[in-house]
Amino acid sequence: MIIELIVNGEKRAGAVASDESLLTFLREELDLAGSKNACEQGECGSCSVVVDGELVCSCLVMAADAAGSEVLTVEGLAKDQELHPVQEALLAGGGVQCGFCTPGFAVAAAHLFSTDPHPSADDIREALSGNICRCTGYGGILRGLERLAGRDLE
C-alpha cells in the first residue's frame, strides 16, 4: 500500500510492504537515514522522532499506522544550513562521540526544549532517560544542554 504523511513539513508518500516500522519506512523508502536502527524494541531511543507532537520510538510505530501523521525527524531540526540550538549545544558541550545515538538525543532534546525552553538539570535527565549512549558520553550531552537551558533561545 502507499501511505502519505508529512515529514519535516513536506508531504511525502511511499510504499509500505507489510507490517514494517516507521523507522524502516523512513530509512529505506524515504532515504532519511538519520534515525538510527539499533535495538528495535524501544530501549535505546536512537530512532526517536516526533509523531503528531509526541516523542516516540519510530521502531515501535507501524508505518501503515503513520499514514496522515506529521513526523519530525533529526533531518528536520536544522533550518537553512543552520543547526538547531540543541545540535549546537551538543557540539559545544562535547556531547558527540561515535555519533550513533546523537540523532535520537537531538530529537528528544529538541522536543523537550520546544515544550520548556529552560528545563532544570533533572528535567533534562528525565527527558533523555529513554536514550542510551553506549560510549557513556552522557556528561558532555548533559553539560551542553544544561548550558542551553540557562540562556534565552531567542
Partner: protein, 265 residues
C-alpha cells in the same frame, strides 16, 4: 497486510467484526517488538490510536487509549506513580493502559492498580458491551478473555477510588526495566486494604490471605506487620527467571506490601 484506521469506536468494532483474525494495535510498544523480531506477522490490523472515544479519561472510567503520559498527571496517585515509571518518555507517549490490559503481562505495572481498585474491563463489539471484572479478564500469562471481535474500550471502577494509594516496584534501574516485583496498595473506605502484586504469579494477583489478616486488625502492631509480610511472601506464586529467583521475589513482595501498608496506616 491490510489495515483499518478507524476514528470512531463504532467503525473500530465494525472492522473487528469483519476481521475476526484482525489484530488490535494501540501504542505498538509491545506488538511492534514482536513484529520487529519476526515473532508475529499479522495479516490484518485494526489501528486504534485515532479512536476518540478510547481517549476519554475520567476518574471512574479511563479509556483504553489513554497514554501513560496522560496518566502521569492523575487523578489516581498510585496510577500516576506507575505511569511515571513505565518505560521511558518515548514509551509513555505511545503506550496505553488498554495496551497493558491487552498484553496481559504478569508484569504489567498498570494492572496492579486495576486489581487493587477492583477495576473492570469494558469490552465493546458490534453486538454490544460487556464488562468483566479484572480477575475474569486476566486469565493467564499474556492471556485475556477478550473475544476476537471485541475492542478493549475502557477500565472502570465500581465506586470513587480513595486517594489513599501507594505503589512501589523493585527492578535494576528506573527507566526501561520490567519490574522484578511490583505492588499497589489501596486503603478503601472503612480502612480495608487491597494489596495487589505483579510479576509474582501468572497474572497480577491480590494477596487475599494477607488482606484478610490485616483487615481484622484495627491498629496493627509491629508483630502484626511482620505477620502480614510473611503471609504475602507465602501466598505469592513466583518463578525463577532471568530477572530474579522465586525466593527473592517472595521476599521482595512481602517487604513491598508491608512498607506500602505501613505508609497508609
Amino acid at each position: 497486510m491490510e489495515i483499518a484506521r478507524p476514528t470512531r469506536l463504532r467503525e473500530a468494532t465494525e472492522a473487528m467484526a469483519e476481521w475476526p483474525d484482525g489484530l488490535p494495535l494501540a501504542g505498538g510498544t509491545d506488538l511492534m517488538v514482536e513484529i520487529n523480531f519476526g515473532h508475529r506477522h499479522p495479516a490484518k490490523v485494526v489501528a486504534l490510536r485515532r479512536v476518540g472515544e478510547l481517549k476519554e479519561a475520567a476518574a471512574e472510567r479511563i479509556g483504553a487509549g489513554v497514554s501513560w503520559r496522560r496518566l502521569e498527571a492523575g487523578p489516581h496517585p498510585a496510577l500516576a506513580q506507575i505511569a511515571r515509571t513505565v518505560g521511558s518518555p518515548q514509551i509513555r507517549s505511545a503506550g496505553t493502559i488498554g495496551g497493558n490490559l491487552g498484553t496481559a503481562s504478569p508484569a504489567g505495572d498498570g494492572l496492579t492498580f486495576v486489581a487493587a481498585a477492583n477495576g473492570s474491563v469494558e469490552l465493546v463489539s458490534s453486538a454490544g458491551t460487556r464488562s468483566l471484572h479484572w480477575d475474569e479478564f486476566l486469565i493467564g500469562v499474556k492471556r485475556n478473555a477478550r473475544r476476537p471481535d471485541e475492542v478493549i474500550a475502557a477500565v472502570t471502577f465500581p465506586s470513587p477510588v480513595p486517594t489513599t494509594q501507594a505503589f512501589a516496584k523493585v527492578g535494576t534501574r528506573n527507566a526501561m526495566v520490567i519490574a522484578t516485583v511490583s505492588c499497589c496498595v489501596i486503603r478503601h473506605d472503612g480502612g480495608k486494604f487491597a494489596i495487589a502484586l505483579g510479576s509474582v504469579a501468572p497474572t497480577v494477583m491480590r494477596a487475599t490471605q494477607a488482606e484478610a489478616y490485616i483487615n481484622q486488625e484495627s491498629r496493627p502492631s509491629n508483630g502484626a506487620m511482620s505477620e502480614l509480610q510473611q503471609i504475602v511472601s507465602q501466598e505469592v506464586r513466583p518463578i525463577d527467571d532471568h530477572r530474579a529467583t522465586a525466593a527473592y521475589r517472595r521476599h521482595a513482595a512481602g517487604v513491598l506490601a508491608r512498607r506500602l501498608v505501613e505508609g497508609l496506616l
